[in-house]
């Protein structure tokens, strides 16, 4: 954006070049510079084939005539270099496209600009020139930046760092405490209270004004503290980006902190690398980049250093550039940094949206809108109360006070705070369970997850091979935890058949794995380690065996030889040939097989039996190897012939413990499980069946495809609904599966840990990555990180997600139903005329003690017992549905009816006056507090808690509020303020009845609703 460097940039532009052998060029700095003219003319004349040259210091133009076989371009390159040397600063070809000052004017308009310029001055760093780097050839970029393919010289780095500042983005600035306190007062309810206080002072009610001030103060303090802690939690989310970058400086490859990257640094790009600054590619080899953080495009973009861009090429199409914040998903390359810090593309975006707060989640927005609508609705009702009161002949000022107080009490000003606070508390709670939330919306998405897509390897399995079956010709054995089982019975391998002894020896000898020098463990490939472990479990002593049969020769597996052969010296001068590998290929080389009665020729029947065994084993486990050997008297070239067949070994990737139970838990919670694997379908099916990905007797549907991208997306969308297994899928196709599920309106969680998983994790509603295993890319994109590397914590996360949503609903339920009851009482009061049932002070009191504490305490409700036994909520259902409003109306009118009943009773007993008003006030307040208990659950009631854990926060909050309420009628000063009359014992009974009965009624309604087949808790 800023083209202002310390000196104005210089441009060289070709004005005329259409006639061969003649060109007119505008030379920067030539105007009125006689010395330059002379030197330039002399220089140009010295070039090959130049016929004449004429430079003008008046027009600043140079006319050059040259042999027509020459290209003007060749001269210009020289001229530019000459000028750069002369003028001591870069000269740019106009055709290279420069962001000229005139053009940037409109780009500079955003409000962020003023601030930025100040901060640039503040920090004292030089603004970075913003060329259209993507239009320049990479060699030119290096030239302009004064860098080279092998990086910046060491001394240039510190200089540049000092000049342009560290490579850091402006982070979200949190609001200052003062700002937060002030914002507590800058709300509509407080403004109304202000008006109310002013009216009070105007009418001489100084005490009233003081009370109002206290109320506002208390509200502000509570608001400040809850918001502060919530904000701290939420701002801590997010950044998990790596903190170092790999660069080449002075020919050396270095790992440097991200913020030390400077313009001109050469970045080394490899899969998984985080790109620390905007850079122009110098070379690239099948480079692909996930640019989703910048462009939102979830598919990786293929980059090419040789690609030529136009000025107007869109950011996403600049294939020769890489941008800060993006990730390399494949290939490699080198790039030179062209801008850093806030001058990068993502830095600019962040400055434009650089407000201090992270964006709100859909639920928060929904609650905000709802709060606004309710505020309007309450104001309308207040206006109605005011109008009715006026018509009834009440004094204008008194009515105004009362309407405003009602508005203050009735407007649910706590709504957005409740949502934010609950989310923040939930996130903290999940952290205690080792679930790291990285994106705020993930919390509510967790609560509505309908499908969870699981990676097989590493997530469901341990990603560690082990032998699970040994097939001799006569005996079939299973291997579990180092024990050999025939059926369910543990057996001694060697006692069964001597062939097994030989088989284990071959597995040790024909094996590249080594025992670790110190301690336990094997060093080698997973397959070979598994075979070695098998032999050791059978009782072989590796060192001894290898000592007795020294290795002479090894033939490794090759394209035309799908087996491995080792030749060993045997004890009596013979040679032992040990072979393991593809059973099919080896069977062709076998002539004999070893049985308990010695060697037998391999009959066709036996071959068929081995083949069937191979097929079976192959269909059940990941990998099957055949084992064979022979003894020879002398060494032959072709040692792998006339072999003696020993048997088959089946290996698989062991499943993590407890996964099948976990799948059942997901299913109980109404969440469908989908397994995605690159394995063959049979292995995938076998694992899927053991996991119980679908319930019993339900078809297990499987899609087996290496080319999901060839499938019509609509077809795939039709298939995914019932599919539980995707086999032979490459990570890149996971995205298609997620998208297909989402096309069906599903809320999808996806696990992944590889670089290639990035796009799918991004696209999924909840991207999950597992602990330490996840690549940096996966960790930085995922919404949720399971720190313990254990998928079981996912169910905890889902429970918390659902609970958080439930609790927000509970708080809303409470706040809305109690506020509605106040409105209803006041509406009735206005309609029946006479003295008001509740005076403004009382309304403010109710607002103070019933809104805040119980509402917050409900946000801390423990999870309900059935939270993981019910289906996920419908993501399209609003947080408060029309049906909920009907319920709110019903419940609030029951509470109002209780209070009004007490009022009516008191009217009859005492007539109109403070007595009746006091009783109604007491009854309404207590009734509202009791309502909090009703809001604890939509299913269980106070009378039938079903082992529901109690919520001590709520107990404390209600206890405290009740205490305050008792103080209000007993402490004379408070009583005076609230204009309460003393409460007698009979009144007390009436009040308790007026407060308690609504609870009984509302709770009974819950039970009768429960009997009703229609679910109340659909949302």
């Amino acid at each position: 954006m800023q083209s202002a460097t310390d000196r104005p940039p210089l441009y060289l532009s070709v004005l005329h070049e259409h006639v061969a052998g003649r060109g007119r060029v505008k030379i920067p700095g030539l105007y009125r510079n006689e010395q330059l003219r002379e030197e330039l003319e002399a220089y140009v004349l010295g070039l090959d084939d130049v016929r004449s040259v004429r430079a003008s210091t008046l027009t600043g133009n140079l006319i050059i005539e040259y042999a027509s076989q020459q290209e003007l371009e060749n001269y210009l390159r020289g001229i530019v270099r000459f000028l750069e040397a002369e003028l001591g600063q870069p000269v740019l070809r106009r055709s290279e496209g420069i962001d000229r000052p005139g053009k940037t004017a409109k780009l500079k308009k955003p409000a962020a600009k003023a601030k930025k310029e100040i901060s640039a001055d503040e920090q004292g760093y030089q603004a970075q020139a913003q060329h259209f780097w993507h239009t320049l050839p990479h060699s030119r970029v290096l030239e302009i930046l004064d860098s080279a393919e092998d990086g910046l010289p060491a001394n240039a780095v510190s200089q540049r760092l000092a000049r342009f500042g560290p490579n850091a983005l402006v982070h979200y600035r949190n609001r200052s405490p003062l700002q937060m306190v002030l914002q507590q007062f800058a709300s509509a309810p407080v403004a109304m209270l202000g008006v109310s206080a002013a009216i009070s002072i105007a009418t001489g009610g100084l005490a009233d004004a003081a009370v109002i001030a206290v109320v506002v103060g208390i509200n502000a303090v509570i608001g400040y503290f809850t918001e502060k802690s919530a904000e701290e939690t939420i701002s801590a989310l997010g950044q998990l980006t790596p903190d170092t970058a790999t660069v080449i400086r002075a020919g050396k490859t270095l790992e440097i902190p991200l913020h030390e990257v400077v313009i001109g640094d050469v970045l080394l790009l490899a899969p998984g690398a985080y790109i620390p600054a905007d850079a122009r590619l110098l070379n690239s080899n099948r480079l692909s980049i996930d640019e989703s953080p910048l462009t939102g495009e979830s598919l990786p973009v293929s980059k090419n250093f040789a690609f030529a861009c136009q000025n107007e090429t869109a950011l996403a199409d600049r294939l020769n550039m890489v941008y800060m914040g993006t990730m390399v998903t494949g290939g490699n390359g080198k790039a030179v940094v062209v801008s850093t810090g806030r001058y990068t593309e993502i830095g600019k975006i962040q400055e434009l949206v650089g407000e201090a707060r992270p964006p709100e989640t859909p639920m928060q927005k929904q609650i905000d809108t709802m709060g606004m609508q309710l505020a309007l609705f309450s104001s309308g009702v207040c206006a109605l109360v005011f109008a009715v009161g006026l018509v009834r002949g009440r004094p204008l000022l008194e009515m105004l006070m009362s309407a405003i107080s009602l508005a203050v009490a009735a407007v649910p000003e706590g709504l957005p705070a409740v949502a934010t606070t609950t989310l923040a508390l939930g996130i903290k709670d999940m952290q205690r369970h080792k679930v790291l939330i990285r994106q705020l919306p993930a919390v509510e998405n967790l609560g509505s997850v309908q499908v969870i897509c699981l990676d097989k390897t590493g997530t469901l399995t341990l990603n560690k091979m082990s032998a699970v079956a040994v097939h001799g010709l006569e005996t079939v054995l299973q291997v579990r935890h180092g024990r050999f089982l025939q059926g369910e019975e543990a057996v001694d391998l060697y006692a069964l058949n001597p062939a097994f002894k030989r088989m284990m020896e071959v597995l040790v000898l024909c094996n590249e794995s080594k025992l670790a020098e110190h301690g336990q463990g094997l060093i080698g490939s997973p397959t070979e380690n598994a075979l070695m472990q098998l032999a050791m479990d059978a009782g072989e002593d590796v060192r001894d065996l290898r000592g007795r049969y020294p290795l002479l020769k090894t033939d490794y597996r090759a394209e035309d030889r799908p087996y491995m052969v080792t030749v060993h010296m045997a004890v009596d001068g013979d040679y032992l040939v040990a072979v393991k590998g593809s059973p099919l290929a080896m069977l062709d080389l076998c002539k004999w097989h070893e049985t308990s009665d010695g060697l037998q020729p391999l009959s066709d029947e036996t071959r068929e039996k081995i083949l069937v065994g191979n097929e079976r084993l192959g269909a059940d486990s990941l990998r099957v190897l055949g084992v064979a050997y022979r003894l020879m008297n002398e060494l032959a070239d072709d040692s792998a012939a006339d072999l003696i067949w020993l048997g088959l070994v089946g290996m698989e990737d062991m499943m993590r413990p407890g996964m099948a139970e976990l799948m059942q838990e997901f299913h109980d919670a109404g969440i469908a499980t989908v397994m995605i694997t690159g394995d063959q379908s049979a292995t995938a099916y076998s694992v899927g069946r053991r996991l119980g990905l679908k319930g019993e007797n339900e078809p297990l549907e499987m899609v087996d495809s290496v080319h999901l991208e060839k499938l019509n997306p609509q077809v795939l969308a039709g298939l995914v609904n019932t599919t539980s297994i995707f086999s032979r899928v490459s990570p890149a196709h996971k995205l298609r599966i997620v998208e297909a599920l989402q096309l069906n309106g599903k809320v999808v969680a996806m696990t992944g840990d590889g670089i290639n998983d990035g796009p799918a994790l991004k696209a999924a509603n909840v991207g999950v990555t597992l602990g330490d295993k996840g690549s940096d890319v996966a960790r930085s994109i995922a919404d949720v990180v399971l720190e313990e590397d254990d998928l079981s914590t996912m169910i905890t996360a889902i429970r918390q997600g659902r609970t958080i949503y439930d609790n927000i609903r509970k708080s809303l339920h409470f706040l809305l139903s109690t506020n509605l009851s106040e409105i209803e009482v006041m509406l009735v009061s206005a309609m029946i005329g006479g003295a008001e049932i509740l005076n403004p002070m009382q309304l403010l009191w109710i607002n103070l003690i019933t809104d805040i504490f119980p509402g917050l305490a409900l946000a801390l409700e423990p999870p309900e017992g059935n939270v993981l036994k019910r289906p996920p909520r419908d993501p399209n259902q609003p947080i408060v549905s029309p049906k909920d409003y009907a319920k709110l109306l019903r419940e609030s009118s029951v509470i109002s009816a209780g209070a009004l009943g007490v009022y009516g009773y008191s009217l009859l007993r005492y007539g109109m006056g403070p007595k009746a008003s006091t009783n109604a006030f007491m009854s309404l307040t207590l009734g509202q507090l009791l309502q909090a208990y009703s809001c604890r659950s939509e299913q269980t009631s106070v009378f039938n808690p079903q082992n529901r854990e109690s919520n001590r926060y709520l107990d404390n909050a209600i206890g405290f509020s009740v205490l305050l309420q008792i103080l209000a009628v007993t402490v004379p000063a408070l009583r005076g303020l609230l204009r309460l009359a003393p409460v007698g014992p009979v009144d007390l009974l009436a009040i308790l009845a007026g407060a308690g009965l609504p609870l009984v009624v509302n709770e009974s309604a819950k039970i009768s609703n429960k009997r009703n087949p229609v679910r109340e808790d659909a949302a």
Binding site: S681, A682, H707, S727
Partner: protein
């Protein structure tokens, strides 16, 4: 009764999507029975552009890689990758594992009272037919149409432009209910070699020479000068196989049986393991009809078996010789009932149906859709045996 007429029967080659679905379904049966002869399997298959749907229910100790089995079948059929690529295609499977019932045991050594315990699980009315048109006692039109289809698949190496997906039809003129001459031959050939599309001339020449001539060399009737030979009347089909049309198991049950010359039940034969009476009953009925004709008791014979759930054997056995019987139909039926055991257990035991795949290296049932379930074409089918003809005489 009209006794002079032309009768057409049609057939398709192995690469026709319907037929391929049959082969895939039966390949799955083979794979299961090969490992565990007592398996129960029902496999159905549907096929569309680049996607194969497989539904299987099974009770078995065998472990089979079902998608891989399907891919192998497709690979062997040999489509051009443009039409259908075995490695690339998506295979969607829906699998249900079930518990074995009393039907899933080794039948070979069953005693009579044990067989009585094995009842059928499907209700079905089935037909078997035989007549004297050909030495294997099959109706002539379907025999010729199937022979042409088999031949087309054989010459696939020689005529490299032919796609595996072709259809054939043969019209036979009957006089006095006897085949008298070949009325017409129609071949529809997919020509989808992307490199060369043959001219109509070459194609006609090749097909007459390599397909029609060898097939009719052994046929009881030869085409004459008036026989209409139609080859691709609307030009070569440059797209064939699954790229052009979809397929499904059990849609070619007429060419699987008698080419509509006799009645056949609508149920599919392929994709069913031997515990399904609607498959093995058809074989038993054919066995009965063929033995009756072979015994010389009739010129043609249709045997009808009706099974009902819960019964071990048929609730009704009916036969019809259309008046060609040497004996009264009642008498033939009496002899039939005396010498043939139509109970499910007995059929499976007598034909050794559970062991056949293992005896043929795991490739038995999957050959039937392409070579024909009846007749003798390189595979000895136990139900084509006329071992009981002597008993009936």
């Amino acid at each position: 009764m009209i006794s002079d007429f032309v009768f057409n029967s049609q057939s398709v080659t192995a690469g026709h999507p319907d037929r391929m679905c049959d082969i895939v379904s039966d390949a799955i049966i083979d794979a299961f029975l090969r490992q565990d002869p007592t398996s129960r399997i029902t496999a159905e298959c549907a096929l569309s552009r680049n996607i194969l749907f497989l539904a299987a229910r099974y009770a078995s100790d065998a472990v089979v890689d079902i998608p891989e089995t399907a891919r192998k079948v497709i690979e062997n059929i040999g489509y051009w990758p443009e039409d259908f690529n075995a490695a690339d295609c998506t295979v969607v499977t829906s699998l249900i594992e079930q518990q074995k019932s009393s039907r899933e045991t080794d039948f070979s050594a069953l005693e009579d009272d044990e067989i009585e315990q094995i009842t059928v699980s499907h209700q079905s009315t089935l037909f078997g037919y035989a007549c004297r048109h050909t030495p294997e006692l099959m109706p002539l039109p379907i025999t010729l149409a199937n022979a042409l289809a088999r031949r087309l698949h054989l010459v696939w190496d020689t005529l490299d432009y032919i796609s595996p997906d072709c259809t054939t039809q043969v019209g036979v003129e009957f006089v006095d209910n006897q085949p008298k001459r070949i009325h017409s031959i129609t071949l529809i050939i997919g020509c989808d070699n992307p490199d060369k599309t043959p001219t109509q001339m070459t194609m006609e020449e090749d097909l007459r020479h390599h397909v029609i001539a060898p097939v009719f060399a052994q046929a009881p009737l030869q085409p004459d000068n008036l026989t209409k030979i139609v080859i691709n009347p609307s030009g070569p089909f440059v797209r064939s196989g699954p790229a052009a049309h979809s397929g499904m198991t059990g849609r070619k049950s007429d060419s699987d049986t008698y080419g509509s010359f006799a009645r056949h039940s609508g149920a599919a034969l392929s994709g069913k393991s031997p515990s399904r009476i609607d498959r093995v009953g058809v074989y038993a009925a054919r066995h009965a009809a063929k033995n009756i004709v072979a015994a010389g008791l009739a010129e043609q014979c249709e045997v009808q078996l009706s099974y009902s759930i819960g019964h071990a054997g048929p609730v009704s056995v009916l036969l019809n010789t259309q008046g060609t019987g040497k004996l009264d139909d009642h008498e033939i039926r009496k002899r039939l009932l005396r010498h043939f055991d139509f109970r499910l257990g007995a059929i499976v035991r007598d034909f050794n149906l559970r062991q056949l795949p293992a005896l043929h290296n795991g490739v038995f049932y999957q050959r039937l859709p392409a070579i024909g379930h009846f007749g003798e074409h390189g595979l000895v089918l136990p139900w084509e045996n006329t071992d009981k003809a002597a008993l009936l005489r």
